[in-house]
């Protein structure tokens, strides 16, 4: 089993329309690199020039915001679900 990544609409053009992809990875950083290899340009969309997650991108591992975990160093195991979600307005 591998990590399931849910792809938001703004990034589906890069994944040929796929709304989820599966990858082997041990942490988020590695996952982003692998996604970038498979879908060139993917990393640039998520990570800024300083190597940090872009401010308006929220990434969740199993529903937990990775900013409450270890950011890009958050570990990912087989069977985990990663969601990439744009920030939204208030309610």
């Amino acid at each position: 089993m591998s990590v399931l990544v849910r792809i938001p609409t703004p990034l589906r053009r890069m994944t040929n329309g796929l709304d989820k992809v599966e990858m082997e990875s041990s942490n988020l950083s590695e996952l982003v690199e692998k996604l970038d290899t498979e879908y060139p340009g993917f990393k640039e969309r998520l990570v800024d020039e300083n190597g940090e997650l872009r401010y308006f991108v929220n990434v969740y591992v199993n529903g937990e915001d990775v900013r409450f975990l270890k950011g890009l160093e958050t570990s990912t195991d087989s069977g985990d679900e990663v969601s990439i979600v744009p920030a939204v307005a208030g309610g």
Partner: protein, 429 residues
């Protein structure tokens, strides 16, 4: 007709057509509406505004949806009243309350939802939806009833009864989610990718958020086209805070403020600051969820998310999307941001009720307590014109103040009444 020419990414400047989009597909930055201000300036005037309806749609030229047949339950044009009693208590001689708790679904959310639902119907959607801390749920359900479309409203499971009933009564599909608002928001962002619905604060966000500008327009109009020296505003995501500032600056640039010359909007419509706009923008959050206040106080440009733990559930957004823009407005306007200690939230509700006869929800308690601290610290001087925004109704959060109920319990006799009165206040026989 509306005077918008498209959408633009607030971060990288990429342009998009005026469609149900909210996120830049390059940098994930928020998309904002682009207006044709040159044409607006040719048609807009005080007379045109004052001859319009007594709702937010009197400012239709500055809203991103057509006002010809809006989804309108008469949101807006709420009272601005001089607060003599509260002002006296706080040592402020020129204090006004913008009482937005008397909107049709009892919060300011009717402003944004009227715009979003009008735009959604324009786009051809037959279903409205939202992620909500409660007030938005009520407003979306009410507007969908008016528009004759379906609605799905998603709320955290632990909301106050008044908000749950206040939404359910309009007949939406109410979805109670075991999680925080931020978790509800995340879920809805994913749903918005998969369901053909108009999520008012997700795929309709650029249009929706513009509705809050009317809170700025109305205060200016009600002050005879002047701006206050200070405003005090509750904040959750920071969106309303930034839009009131934008509204003030639009009026200035269009020459609609008394004695102010019109001027260009410059290269960025969202960051324009007319020099005549000197209002200090003060933000209020509850201490149990104050990520924007913390970032501002620490001099950070970015907001770190927090896990909310506050009685003010309508402000319980731990990951505020507009936080960075709100911080810019705080700094640009010379305003302040206050985190109100949790026990003072209820004190604020009671202070407003007991002095001015206005019953607000917990967010209003936060705002009044922040106002009190600004008055005490001298940040607002006694003769300066200050407006405090009360954005939600107390009947939505009865649980927060149920300790005020302490009746004289008597039998239906004079003797019983006089005995009880004597026991309570020491008068009578």
């Amino acid at each position: 007709m509306s005077f918008i020419s498209g959408l633009k990414c607030r971060e990288c400047g990429r342009e998009f057509p005026a469609e149900p989009l909210n996120v830049c597909d390059f940098c994930f930055g928020p998309l904002e509406v682009v207006y044709d201000y040159a044409t607006i300036s040719e048609v807009i005037s005080h007379d045109r505004i004052s001859s319009g309806p007594l709702s937010i749609w009197r400012y239709q030229d500055l809203l991103p949806a057509s006002g010809e047949d809006p989804v309108d339950i008469m949101a807006g044009f709420t009272p601005l009243m001089k607060a003599r009693n509260l002002g006296k208590r706080l040592g402020l001689n020129n204090l006004y309350i913008k009482n937005d708790s008397v909107n049709p679904s009892f919060s300011f959310k009717d402003r944004v939802v009227s715009v979003a639902s009008t735009k959604a119907v324009e786009f051809g959607f037959d279903t409205l939806a939202c992620a909500s801390t409660g007030n938005l749920a009520c407003s979306v359900a009410a507007h969908s009833a008016r528009a004759g479309v379906r609605s799905y409203v998603f709320i955290p499971w632990d909301l106050e009864t008044g908000k749950i009933v206040g939404a359910a009564v309009y007949g939406p599909t109410l979805v109670s989610v075991e999680g925080t608002y931020d978790e509800v928001n995340r879920l809805c962002s994913e749903l918005a990718d998969n369901y053909p619905w108009a999520f008012v604060n997700i795929n309709m966000r650029p249009y929706y958020a513009e509705g809050s500008k009317t809170l700025g327009y109305e205060v200016a109009e009600q002050l005879d086209w002047r701006l206050p020296d200070h405003v005090v505003i509750p904040s959750a995501s920071g969106a309303m805070f930034t839009k009131i500032w934008k509204g003030f600056n639009e009026l200035a640039c269009l020459g609609l403020l008394d004695g102010v010359e019109a001027s260009s909007f410059g290269p960025d419509q969202n960051t324009v600051h007319h020099p005549a706009v000197t209002t200090r923008m003060h933000m209020a959050q509850a201490e149990g969820c104050s990520p924007i206040v913390s970032a501002w106080a620490n001099g950070q440009a970015h907001v770190l998310p927090v896990r909310p733990n506050t009685i003010a559930k309508s402000l319980a957004i731990g990951n505020p999307a507009d936080g960075i823009y709100a911080i810019r407005v705080l700094n640009e306007s010379g305003g302040t941001a206050t985190a109100v200690p949790e026990p003072e939230v209820v004190e604020g509700i009671k202070l407003l009720a007991e002095t001015e006869g206005i019953f607000t929800e917990t967010a209003g308690g936060v705002t009044v307590s922040a106002l009190k601290s600004l008055a005490e610290s001298g940040a607002i001087q006694p003769d300066e014109l200050a407006v405090v925004y009360i954005t939600g109704n107390g009947l939505k959060t009865l649980e927060a103040v149920d300790s005020v109920v302490n009746p004289l319990s008597i039998k239906p006799t004079m003797r019983s009444f006089e005995g009880a009165l004597n026991e309570r206040i020491g008068v009578g026989g």
